[in-house]
């Protein structure tokens, strides 16, 4: 099974929600749609499902054009952030309902309901109604119904967003395992980079109705092809600074940051670039002989117990350093910080990746 979107555009009332988007998803794969609110994740899922039709472009299922085929004639299950269950039916009947509608054998229905209920820890709750369940249990019921259906395409639209942090952690860990048994295509939309990384699989980053990159999740994270992708795939936000390359040196406009263009950076043509580096690559202690020191002003220090987020102002930019240990630095204090050019991502004036020495080292 393959789902292919070919040059799909979705326009509503003069506004373009999805812009000339092409994407191919293979069967048995887990695919994350990662992007901020309004980037087009839900619209894209509705197009994949057949709930909405593209304004132009085509959708193929195993090579067959299904662009005009309505959702009820496709093998699709979808779970939304706001879980939906039948309030008067028991958990058992909620899970069984799509299979009953499809007219499947009673024994088969019973077997599948019990199987997914076991996976989602709903077995003791099968005779209750949704109103007697917690939010997490209700969402698991909605997930169970979608899984039991064994659709070829399972679409989960921020399915854990309304759940408690810890429950989310558990379900996120279970989902890939539960799903891998079904063999279909799983598409999972989220705004959270860490969620994408924990799910693994492949990730498509979305910005303003376009897929900015699609590839193995960890590779997209390590080697974002553009500043747009790097921004979408970084939490805390990626640190950036505009620099100019002249000969063997890169420097910021005010000269506060200067470093030698060694290795990959040395091969870049002279001109304007944006340096990007993640918060865990901004250090309070010198990490290595090639580190460059700068002096920044502390805006706020946040402590998580084992780590500290130090927000600093440097050359007109707000940066975040994620460092090990508790560092309760005073607001307004000047601190020395260290950067490693070997871990930089360099983007050109058009925002495309020009060099990623760090991605190479880690690969």
């Amino acid at each position: 099974m393959t789902l292919e979107l070919r040059n799909v555009t979705r326009q509503v009332g003069g506004q373009i929600h999805i812009r000339d988007l092409s994407l191919t998803l293979e069967h048995g794969t887990l695919n994350v749609l990662l992007g901020p609110t309004l980037s087009g994740k839900t619209t894209l899922m509705r197009l994949m499902a057949g709930l909405d039709q593209p304004s132009s472009g085509q959708v193929f299922w195993d090579g067959v054009d299904v662009t005009g085929v309505p959702v009820r004639k496709r093998s699709v299950a979808m779970v939304y952030q706001q879980f939906i269950n039948y309030p008067t039916l028991s958990v058992y009947e909620n899970i069984a309902s799509p299979m009953r509608v499809a007219g499947q054998a009673k024994d088969e229905i019973d077997r599948r309901v019990r199987e997914v209920a076991e996976l989602l820890k709903l077995t003791p709750l099968l005779q209750r109604t949704p109103l007697e369940l917690s939010g997490g249990q209700q969402q698991r019921t909605a997930l169970a119904r979608a899984l039991a259906k064994r659709a070829g395409l399972l679409l989960l639209d921020e399915p854990l967003a309304n759940l408690d942090y810890k429950l989310r952690e558990e379900l996120r860990q279970e989902l890939p395992r539960i799903f891998s048994a079904t063999g279909g295509i799983l598409v999972y939309a989220t705004t959270e980079p860490l969620e994408a990384l924990l799910l693994g699989g492949s990730t498509a980053t979305l910005s303003e109705g376009r897929v900015t990159q699609f590839g193995r999740t960890i590779e997209v994270y390590r080697r974002p092809n553009s500043l747009a992708t790097a921004r979408i795939f970084s939490d805390p936000p990626i640190n950036t600074l505009a620099v100019e390359k002249a000969g063997g040196v890169l420097s910021s406009a005010t000269g506060l940051l200067r470093f030698a263009a060694t290795g990959d950076l040395g091969r870049l043509p002279d001109g304007a670039y944006v340096v990007g580096f993640r918060p865990d690559h901004l250090y309070l202690a010198k990490p290595g002989p090639d580190a460059v020191a700068v002096s920044a002003t502390v805006a706020i220090a946040e402590i998580t117990g084992s780590e500290s987020f130090i927000h600093v102002d440097f050359a007109g930019e707000r940066w975040v350093a994620l460092v090990h240990g508790v560092h309760d630095l005073a607001i307004g204090q000047t601190v020395p910080l260290y950067l490693e050019p070997g871990r930089f991502l360099l983007f050109n004036a058009a925002g495309a990746l020009a060099a990623a020495p760090g991605a190479r080292a880690a690969a």
Binding site: L198, R231, E302, I331
Partner: protein
């Protein structure tokens, strides 16, 4: 600003509670110091919203008293308590401008016009709302609307406390960072008593000086983020804080050594560095250690384990190992490689905690235990 004292407060939604299990908030004695930044952290159903509603006056507790700067306010309605509240979803007037929305809590209390203008300008400045003061609130994005809600909470200089009930739930991750650090900056500047309710550990830990962790109606630990991380007083705190949470496994403690529950006598033992004579006979004993302190080795000392799964989350790897049927998580460095199936696991004795019936037991220097 006020010092808030919860004096023997407990609450049950039942008319005639039969026992502790009937209480949404179990008996609590606690002082929120004037000017402190507190977080109330726990899963849904733990009683944190009930407790917040008791402080704000939406609920009168079944037992105990609530004191603001020593004065009993238990019977006072919300309006008379001088409290500002910010909710999960923005509460603003769409037809008003941003400035009018910010001014509303002051106008409502008949504050003089010049003072209103001054406060609105100050708050708008702090929250970067100054450029849009004249804009209608309708059509603004959710995060800007929530900033206006925060502004309305901050605009009155005379409030006893500001209560935040999951204020960043509707905000995208990137903006969450900005708003959260903004809120903390404001707390440092204004020295307001702030109580922040959330189920999100990152929000709680980064915002608060002191975090109050609730579980099943009970406060199980009050501490700084570092204390909650390094010395979880209850297995629930260990589990709930940290991602992944603390590893907890049933053990038998013998002197200064522990044995995982289903490892046979004479098998692999875990050195604790301390003895625990304080464990009551018959208590359920468990060992807890955070994934950050679990080391994976290739050979030599340690517990023999099988690698179940390795998750690369970019900044670090989460390695799940099976030690005699018990699953442990280890966090290892970004560059670390885990090859093969069998590994040796080292548990750093300095960071092992022992729990009896879910509560942390203080160890004693090991010589006493060895004797």
């Amino acid at each position: 600003m006020a010092r808030i004292h919860l004096d023997g407060v407990a609450h049950s939604y039942l008319a005639a509670p039969q026992g502790p299990q009937d209480f949404a908030v179990k008996r609590l004695d606690h002082v929120w110091e004037d000017g402190g930044a507190y977080a109330l952290l726990g899963p849904s159903g733990c009683g944190k919203t009930t407790l917040l509603n008791i402080i704000s006056g939406l609920i009168t507790p079944s037992q105990g008293h609530l004191l603001f700067d020593g004065a009993d306010v238990t019977a006072l309605p919300t309006a008379a308590r001088n409290i500002a509240q910010v909710f999960q979803f923005p509460v603003i007037y769409d037809t008003m401008t941003v400035g009018e929305n910010l001014a509303f809590p002051l106008r409502n209390r008949h504050v003089a016009g010049a003072e209103v203008a001054k406060r609105v300008a100050e708050v708008a400045q702090m929250l970067d709302l100054a450029p849009i003061l004249k804009k209608k609130a309708r059509g603004l994005t959710a995060d800007v609307k929530q900033k206006i809600s925060l502004g309305r909470g901050l605009v009155r200089p005379d409030v006893a406390a500001i209560l935040f009930d999951e204020p960043l739930t509707v905000i995208d991750p990137h903006l969450k960072w900005m708003l959260r650090s903004k809120l903390k900056e404001l707390h440092r500047q204004l020295k307001l008593t702030m109580i922040y309710v959330t189920h999100d550990q990152t929000e709680a830990l980064t915002f608060a000086d002191k975090v109050v962790v609730m579980y099943e109606g009970e406060v199980v630990q009050i501490g700084t983020p570092e204390e909650l991380f390094e010395r979880p007083a209850h297995t629930f705190v260990g589990y709930f804080i940290g991602s992944p949470g603390m590893n907890v496994a049933p053990v038998q403690v013998e002197g200064n050594r522990a044995r995982l529950a289903n490892l046979e006598a004479g098998g692999q033992q875990i050195s604790l560095g301390r003895a625990y004579p304080g464990i009551a006979a018959g208590a359920r004993t468990e060992l807890g250690i955070r994934p950050e302190y679990v080391r994976i080795g290739r050979n030599g000392a340690g517990l023999s384990a099988r690698v179940v799964k390795v998750d690369d989350v970019g900044r670090y790897r989460i390695v799940r190992v099976d030690i005699a049927g018990h699953i442990f998580n280890a966090i290892t460095a970004e560059e670390a490689r885990i090859d093969g199936d069998r590994v040796n696991v080292l548990l750093d004795p300095a960071n092992i905690h022992i729990y009896a019936d879910s509560r942390r037991v203080e160890g004693e220097p090991s010589r006493a235990g060895a004797a």
